[in-house]
Symmetry: C2
Subunit: 162 residues, 2 copies
DNA sequence: TGTTTTTAGATCGGACACGATCTAATCGGA
DNA sequence: TCCGATTAGATCGTGTCCGATCTAAAAACA
């Protein structure tokens, strides 16, 4: 058993990093959702793509990507997979052949119904803080993306301390 | 331009899902950190591994994995990469040949010093809410992992609504 | 002691996430 | 109208993450 040997007692601890809390909470979400998603035969990313499509049908790949914060290099293979599974349809927009319109099939809509209970999930323990945390994380995301789009390193360095 | 056509106006919106907020905030963190990590020549996972090792040296792969919420299948390739980069040393524990002990090299320690400013970063906008959000996300992670370890689907279904 | 079981890492295949690059379609200015 | 610039997706290579499986070492126990 190795003795705890803090190399830098003055340095901030990983456990206090917000980035690490988010990172590891995301891993935890994946593990908590896995059993239910396995029953549906979906991955998490496929799942949120279905949700987003159920909110607005016939979106372009780019439009969907804006909602999911993903780009075509990530989305295209996922959408092809969902199409192969029969849950969505992909077709070039006749008005602009560059765009691909994506829409749910009846099977896809059906799947979204089955997945409805999933939106409630595993937030137990947050209690009344839930909406506060949700909003704060969204705000955090917004700030991070602003920093990233802006110029990255520069913006981050001038950001407030954690 | 496609008209917004909510398929299920009564269904919860993706934008309100806590899981999605966490998921997308994690993506955003990755993008915000990328420029700095690129300068260091590290990926995010490599970075947190270095941080964890700087807090306690000579850990086993399993022990490190507990802190990072990762297992050997993920950790081993990352540690091998860090070893190849010269930042860590991996060696079998003579007292228990099954275990691999990981420790920072001087170069690795040096790198951690250079990465020190990174712990402050891009939380701007949360202000005084910061510690509240950080703790809430950690609590959330803990609950999710409990649900996942427990039995997954069963536990999640009985969890409180988002 | 010898055999069975458990444990720690490692390996492998599948699925993201992303930077870089490519192609095809559209747009815009001369 | 024509051609360079822009735009939307698609493709490819790298690096996680994870389930499943493998190997070797240690522990358990008859």
């Amino acid at each position: 058993m190795p003795a705890p040997t803090p190399e830098r007692p003055d340095a901030p601890r990983l456990a206090d990093f917000l980035c690490f809390a988010i990172y590891s909470a995301n891993l935890a979400y994946g593990r908590a959702y896995k059993p239910i998603l396995d029953e549906l035969g979906l991955t998490y990313t496929q799942y949120i793509a279905i949700i987003a499509l159920s909110e607005e049908d016939n979106q372009s790949v780019g439009g969907l990507g804006e909602k999911l914060f993903l780009e075509s290099n990530t989305l295209t293979p996922i959408l092809k997979k969902l199409e192969a599974l029969g849950y969505i349809r992909r077709q070039r927009d006749p008005a602009d052949e560059r765009q691909v319109r994506v829409s749910l099939t009846p099977e896809g809509r059906n799947l979204r119904e089955k997945a409805l209970p999933m939106n409630l999930a595993a937030a137990a323990g947050l209690g009344e803080d839930f909406p506060v945390v949700q909003k704060a994380v969204v705000r955090l995301r917004s700030n991070l993306l602003k920093a990233a789009r802006g110029q990255g390193a520069k913006a981050v360095e001038t950001a407030e301390a954690e």
